[in-house]
Symmetry: C2
Subunit: 488 residues, 2 copies
């Protein structure tokens, strides 16, 4: 399939009618959510995937805004034929509460004062961000998301969803994240905030009217954070000790090294696109994030129902693999169906935005229909035991199948009849189905994994299995043809 | 031996008469060096150890300044009975060039303008710091230091000494350091400098007259750096997610977590003791540090003569063990006598200031007199071959020795006479030394290790070896008594 972009997209807005009760005790009214969607929501509303963005991300996850030079921030995995296949899934991504990219945040107008909130905006949590996302998802009439996926702070939102709305998703993929911010993570954020507080242009958060933003403070906060997103190795490869626009060290305080120039540029570019107060609120939400209950992450994750894939990055020192391992351990202790992979990369934390090949492979594999339920044929022909051989032969021709489950009046599986059985009936001159059908029939359940049943079929050398529920009622059929299609 | 402090000490000042030619091409005049010394310089001036301090350290490495509540920064290893034993060694520590603790730096008065230098101070290098230290060492009449030791930026100075003045030290111990600053290390320093530049009170470096220092900028620079000095694990142990002076999160921008409070305090305390411009100059010197020549560290370290112990810290992510391993590899390639140990600690980079037990053990072992030269008796009795037995006996009684090397007029070893040989002369009624002395005498060289000669003495069952140079001239004697004292 051609791996393409979703093309030109637009940010849309959703206005939440009811007030939001925040974790901090305050109530926020008139909340607006900026979001984008890619692909089509199917009739069953069962193919929606929610993408959660990181600290300074936005709703624009894929495609191109008219006139833009760069696509959305996760273009590498979203689009036709990519892991988050827009020909198959309906992708939703919204800007977080507290942000500055269209969703209500400290730079929004306070309806009570008609001025920007500034520090009058209430302190919010990752839980509050997720509450707002839930309203958006509900607005589509979606009862269960096919998956929720996000990296870094986006991964925190995924974890929060798993805990707050356990029944709302089939699958969840938290990437390069943690179930609670560590003191080192808090420390980096806290210094960034201090840097903003210290900028005289910040003015206690009331800088909107002046038209002068606290650019130095925000820029330094970004530079600090940016160092933590890269690995030492990636910096070595990217910059080494290379000099910037000079052949020799100049023995002054101008920029000597490429890495200095790069960071400075990152800081300067950031202040053009991000609000300093939003940076304060969002980093605070990250610092407050802690899913453990009484120091137990096992207790904190006890209600999770989703099937989970936890991903980390081997060179990520900001959200190291150990924090992902803690999540996996706690989920395992709760008998959650969880798997784990470590992305091999020298990019550091940023790998979740960059490692195209591994991300597409891991996401596609995990999202792919790899349980029987996702793959089985549901509208299948069955036949009653009192039917005769001719009825079965006609049905096979008509439905163009080689296997027909034989069932009771209650549709319970009692045997199977195949085209080979029919050949046998000719040889033995039998006319009753009961004479030729196989009654020691193998079957499987809807929740069995494809891997399991593929093994079973190979072992017993059979090419088709009826799928039954706990009462042996036939739900469908699964064939080796379907499985081999999947694997190809 | 009682492990004590050196007690009350004072910082002294050394004025360098001649101008210093700096690596950047400028010339600095009227340089003054703040230094402290502990212990006594011996007659031979062979027992001096130079200590090099880290980024924000000073000359006050040990003991107490009158009225102070805290001892010098490396009190844990300096003092009577400690690894840097002041009853044995003469310890020198000086504040670096560019500093603000007594040695000439940007806050010193510019003799030309009679005002503080500010940014008129020339950019300096680690090499320049070492040039100034060399003048100080020379002023004591020391021809060779027994050792040079330092951690972090102090380790860079040690490495620079090894390269710039290879004959000036017997031993060298660079700790938790690197032979060149990596882009990540440069990045953290660069952001710290940006933070100072951004503080409106910095005023292009001319803040001395105003009386208002760029405290916010310097404080944030320190907070950033401080995070890098600690390991994630040590922060977890020290703070976890503990709240500061509150039982519950307060959902505002006051300090929530202990780690925030700690860092803020570190920043505030630092601005009281350190000059912002010095911070700029010293971090710049660290960034410029690179001992490789044409990208080859092997070439860069080719002239090293010292015996070297490289130490790193397993949890140090700022100066990771790989950077120490690079130094060891390059020294090995140059056939330098180098050994390596990794300190086991969860303190992170700061372990070089804290791991008392391991540091004392590793430093003491490496500094201990483990070559013959360090241990041999030098002022020994010798006797000429034409002497008679009575002369030898009288000399033995007078010098209270049991072994006397027999030498030529040029003091070259030709044999040895022992108290046992004298007993033999009585039995055989011999009077000439040549009749009784051992001419198949075993000997050793000054550079032999104690381990080697201990094995030799055991093998040949001898208790005393003459030490000779390449021309067989007798330099001294070494006995099993001395060796056994050492090992005890």
């Amino acid at each position: 399939m051609n791996k393409e972009s979703v093309g030109i997209v637009e940010t849309k807005y959703f206005h939440i009618e009811e007030p939001i009760d925040l974790d901090g005790g305050e109530v926020l009214e008139n909340v607006s959510v900026a979001y984008e969607t890619y692909g089509e929501l199917n009739k069953e509303k069962s193919n929606a995937i929610l993408i959660c963005h990181a600290l300074t991300g936005d709703a624009h996850a894929a495609g191109w805004h008219e006139g833009d030079k760069k696509p959305g921030w996760w273009e590498i995995v979203i689009g036709p034929g990519k892991a988050l296949d827009t020909e198959k899934y309906f992708i939703i991504c919204s800007n977080v509460l507290g942000g500055c990219k269209g969703t209500t945040g400290p730079s929004s107008l306070n309806p009570k004062t008609k001025k920007e909130y500034g520090l009058d905006f209430p302190v919010i949590t990752i839980g509050d961000m997720v509450k707002v996302q839930k309203k958006l998802v509900d607005s589509f009439g979606i009862n269960q998301l096919s998956a929720i996926i996000g990296g870094s702070m986006g991964g925190m939102q995924v974890l929060e969803w798993m805990v707050s709305y356990p029944e709302m998703m089939k699958k969840a993929i938290p990437i390069a994240t943690a179930a609670m911010s560590s003191p080192q993570q808090i420390a980096f954020n806290a210094v960034g905030r201090q840097s903003i507080f210290s900028d005289p242009h910040w003015k206690g958060g009331n800088y909107y009217e002046s038209g002068v933003i606290p650019r130095n403070g925000l820029s330094i906060a970004r530079m600090i954070a940016h160092i933590t997103y890269l690995s030492d190795e990636s910096m070595d490869i990217k910059f080494g000790r290379g000099l910037q626009d000079k052949d020799e060290i100049s023995y002054d305080f101008s920029v000597d090294f490429q890495v200095e120039s790069y960071l400075k540029h990152q800081g300067e570019a950031f202040v053009k696109r991000f609000d300093a107060n939003s940076y304060l609120y969002i980093t605070k939400a990250v610092d407050l994030f802690d899913l453990s209950i009484n120091d137990s992450l096992i207790d904190g994750l006890k209600d999770v129902e989703a099937k989970v894939l936890v991903l980390s990055v081997d060179s990520d020192w900001l959200y190291p693999t150990e924090q992902s391992a803690d999540i996996v351990t706690a989920l395992n202790a709760n008998n959650v169906d969880v798997s784990f992979s470590e992305i091999k990369s020298n990019y550091g934390h940023d790998a979740f935005l960059l490692e195209k090949g591994q991300l597409n492979y891991l996401l596609a594999n995990f999202l792919s229909e790899n349980v029987v339920e996702d793959l089985m044929m549901e509208n299948i022909a069955t036949i009653k035991a009192n039917a005769n051989v001719q009825d079965a032969a006609k049905l096979m021709l008509e439905k163009h199948v080689t296997h027909i489950p034989v069932v009771t009046d209650e549709n319970k599986l009692i045997g199977i009849v195949t085209s080979w059985d029919l050949s046998k009936s000719i040889a033995t001159n039998s006319n009753h189905l009961t004479d030729i059908m196989t009654t020691t029939v193998k079957y499987c359940n809807a929740g069995d994994t494809i891997e399991e049943i593929a093994r079973k079929m190979r072992k017993f050398d059979i090419s088709c299995l009826p799928v039954v529920d706990e009462d042996m009622v036939v739900l469908g059929l699964i064939t080796t043809d379907q499985i081999s299609n999947l694997l190809s």
